[in-house]
């Protein structure tokens, strides 16, 4: 059965096609066309025949390309976008063809005037074509991405036929629907010489580009009037522009909508992440949420509390500053001064707000890395000629002992007070005291 379907039938049908066509051309050359019925019924004809021919020509072209250059075709369809585009265009063409053909069949069946010129073969051809197109749609839907797999199955098989070394192995395990589609195709090839399908050999390709001709069914007087009425314009030229214009827009619209739809569907389907990507994404989000939370808890602390712990005085260093956040949520630095008391200074550069580096150079200065301003940590003054003109504000501080008693305070201007008396402060135990910033010193720093 397969042998007949895949090898016998093709050769039989091709023989019939060639012999039959040659005979028909020699015996009745002017019958190589399709009998027109436009005069008998126009509206449905246009509704049917135009979509049908556009659709079927696109489909045939697609089949032909996949058959002629299977290798190029395969590499092209490996591109997902290309494959999607081709398949979408294919489905659109198939839908047009099926719709047009259905209209044509309906028209043949119900229009009384057409019955007279309809022979049995016309109906057979129309029926077979409809079945073939529907089968094709079925195959394309049921066995997806035919544009791709056909290049590895049917194309080499067809090549083997045409090189007279028939090889059925390529196609032997194809499903029944595909077999039927192929078999029907061979049957129709054989039918070509005996039916109106023969008009495929006399395609009026030159029509679109030939000089306009006007078919006049009338007398000379009427002709003159018609041309005058059209303002000297040939209506056929006009109509042809309309057809070309519409064609161009439809083609552009189809291509654009395929591309845009492809992008839109992907966009709204959203991200499809594998596990590690999901983990990365969530980790990153969590990290940013934590940073925000930390920032906000600092802010809350500064709103609620009148004083905030910076560090133990013993932890401070004269050379490497310790970063902390001041009441205005700006970075600040804490050092231990030469007198073993703290130095607290804003680290927000007065030039452009960069954060000043924390290490002190030999001249007792810290540097802003952005535009190289050096600030003296004791006075906050920038070096002469620095981009920064204003000094870094100094921050006030409190020194508390372990019990929370305030031993010494200094405001932003450097004024010190000893709430417990100056003698209560033991220079030897300084390192055990805690350095706090206080809200009441904040106004100077602002």
């Amino acid at each position: 059965m397969d042998a007949f379907l895949y090898v016998g039938l093709p050769y039989l049908s091709l023989t019939v096609l060639i012999v039959g066509t040659v005979v028909r051309f020699r015996q009745a050359p002017f019958s190589v066309s399709s009998l027109s019925s436009q005069v008998l019924e126009k509206k449905q004809l246009a509704l049917g025949t135009i979509p049908w021919h556009i659709g079927i020509l696109i489909l045939l072209a697609g089949h032909l390309v996949a058959f002629l250059v299977p290798d190029i075709w395969r590499s092209l369809t490996a591109n997902r976008a290309f494959l999607l585009t081709v398949e979408t265009i294919g489905f659109m063409a198939a839908a047009m063809a099926a719709f047009g053909l259905s209209v044509l069949v309906y028209r043949r069946l119900v229009t009384a005037r057409l019955q007279a010129v309809t022979n049995r073969m016309d109906l057979v051809v129309l029926g077979l074509l409809l079945v073939q197109v529907l089968l094709g749609i079925g195959v394309a839907l049921g066995k997806r991405w035919g544009a791709q797999w056909s290049a590895g199955t049917t194309s080499p098989y067809l090549w083997s036929l045409f090189t007279f070394q028939p090889d059925m192995t390529y196609v032997s395990d194809l499903p029944a629907s595909v077999k039927l589609h192929l078999g029907l195709a061979w049957v129709m090839f054989a039918l070509i010489p005996f039916t109106r399908l023969i008009h495929g050999f006399s395609v009026p390709l030159g029509y679109l580009w030939r000089a306009p001709q006007q078919v006049i069914w009338t007398t000379r007087r009427r002709l003159t009037r018609e041309t005058a009425r059209a303002g000297g314009v040939n209506p056929e030229t006009s109509r042809r522009h309309f057809v070309k214009g519409l064609g161009g827009l439809v083609a552009a619209g189809v291509l654009m909508s395929v591309g845009v739809l492809d992008k839109l569907v992907g966009y709204f389907r959203g991200q499809r992440l594998d596990r590690t990507e999901q983990v990365d994404l969530l980790e990153k989000k969590l990290e940013r949420l934590r940073a925000t939370a930390e920032e906000q808890s600092l802010e809350l602390e500064r709103l609620q509390k009148d004083a905030i712990l910076v560090a133990q005085l013993g932890q401070l260093d004269p050379k490497i500053g310790r970063y902390f956040t001041d009441y205005q949520m700006r970075p600040a630095l804490a050092f231990k001064g030469a007198d073993h008391l703290p130095i607290l200074i804003s680290a927000k550069c007065t030039h452009l707000g960069c954060t000043v580096a924390s290490n002190v150079d030999d001249k007792g200065q810290i540097m802003c890395p952005c535009h190289i301003s050096y600030f003296d940590i004791r006075t906050g003054q920038p070096n002469p000629g620095a981009p920064a003109k204003l000094p870094l504000p100094r921050l006030g501080w409190l020194l508390k002992d372990a019990k929370g008693t305030v031993m010494l305070t200094q405001d932003g201007a450097g004024n010190r007070t000893w709430p417990q008396g100056q003698e209560a402060l033991d220079p030897a135990s300084l390192d055990g005291l805690e350095v706090w910033i206080a809200k009441r010193f904040d106004t100077e720093g602002a």
Binding site: Y267, Q271, R288, M329, L352
Partner: protein
């Protein structure tokens, strides 16, 4: 008596600007003719700006599906959109490129309509609504720039809003604090933070679009009512029909421009022009990276601000804004020849400052 006269004059003014007899589809669409002459290309610029505006709306709406306007997640959501969502990078890129293209075409539109004296009677309101739309477009640019919440966005916004403070220096006594209060009202807090992001987001996606729909409606209505301005002193007498001929040509231009825009958006990520530390998420406690600058379309006022005394630039800006709105009055009697020279001078300034602003700045500031 006096008021009655004024009212009558006002009604007459409106009647001339919005002639009721022309308020029909026939008059506004079918009968409209577009003059044909050497400057006809300029008639496409307004439509082009409209086209980019449409693209902005579509891509902007699409990005709303993924964007999260909070300081903690804004940057991550934009990153997710760019890196993970299929086509997300393209949509964002289209939005960025098209915004620049829109501003460019709006600027060109302004210059050409000025040069062609398209603001003459009865087209004053067309001009004024156009200038207001121009301000809105810059507003779109300024507010939209903040939304990705990366370093350059937040810091440039800080600097932009910070320049409001500089007015305080020139105000007497108690008033001198007013600019700072104004800035804090705009940004919703002492610094640029969540409140600022929420406000800019609302302004960018709701307020400005709604206002521009209104203004755009007025602008287009008056364009259709009065037709295209003749544009040249000696009309060639040749015209073409607005519908369908000019519309179709417009569509053709849009098609070609879309091809160019999409090619650029597919091939060049807009952010690739930035140094990458500037695109890192904003860090309020960290140091500020180098190279904070506004978008190119603000260079024309940014570099003068950097180089010249503030009062001079601020005064110039005020004069420019009022002047633009009053153009139909000021240049009522000016010839097209003079207008063209003025427009050309403005164009040369814009081109030079946009392309070579950085070099000029470095030359005059003397580096450090």
């Amino acid at each position: 008596m006096k008021t009655a006269g004024r009212t009558r004059r006002f009604v007459a003014f409106l009647a001339e600007r919005f002639p009721a007899e022309k308020m029909s589809l026939q008059a506004m669409v079918q009968k409209k003719e577009v003059p044909v002459h050497r400057w006809s290309w300029a008639y496409y610029l307004g439509g082009l700006a409209l086209f980019f505006f449409i693209i902005q709306i579509v891509t902007g709406l699409m990005m709303l599906f993924y964007y999260e306007p909070s300081v903690a997640t804004a940057h991550a959501s934009v990153e997710n959109l760019t890196n993970n969502v299929p086509g997300g990078a393209l949509i964002r890129n289209l939005h960025a490129w098209s915004s620049s293209a829109m501003i460019l075409s709006v600027m060109l539109h302004l210059l050409t309509t000025f040069a062609m004296k398209a603001f003459g009677r009865p087209r004053e309101l067309t001009w004024v609504s156009g200038v207001l739309l121009l301000f809105l477009v810059f507003g779109f640019g300024f507010t939209g720039y903040l939304l990705p919440w990366h370093q350059i966005a937040v810091n440039a916004t800080k600097v932009g809003l910070g320049s409001i403070d500089a007015f305080g220096e020139y105000l007497p006594g108690a008033l001198s604090d007013l600019p700072r209060q104004l800035r804090e009202t705009i940004q919703g807090g002492a610094t640029v933070g969540q409140a600022t992001l929420s406000r800019f987001y609302a302004i960018h996606v709701i307020v400005l679009p709604l206002v521009s729909f209104g203004l755009l409606g007025l602008h287009l209505l008056s364009v259709q009512l009065h037709g295209m301005s003749p544009g040249v002193d000696k009309p060639t007498g040749r015209t073409e029909k607005f519908f369908p001929l000019f519309i179709l040509k417009d569509l053709k231009v849009w098609g070609v421009v879309f091809l160019m825009l999409a090619t650029v958006a597919i091939c060049i990520p807009f952010d690739a022009f930035l140094d990458y530390p500037l695109a890192a998420p904003y860090n309020s406690l960290g140091s500020t990276p180098d190279g904070i600058k506004p978008e190119w379309y603000f260079f024309w006022m940014y570099y003068p601000l950097e180089l010249l005394p503030f009062w001079l630039v601020a005064g110039g800006m005020a004069v420019l804004q009022v002047g633009l709105l009053l153009v139909p009055r000021i240049f009522r009697g000016t010839s097209r020849k003079v207008l063209k020279s003025l427009a050309a001078a403005a164009a040369i300034y814009l081109i030079v400052i946009t392309l070579f602003g950085q070099a000029i700045y470095e030359m005059f500031s003397g580096g450090h």
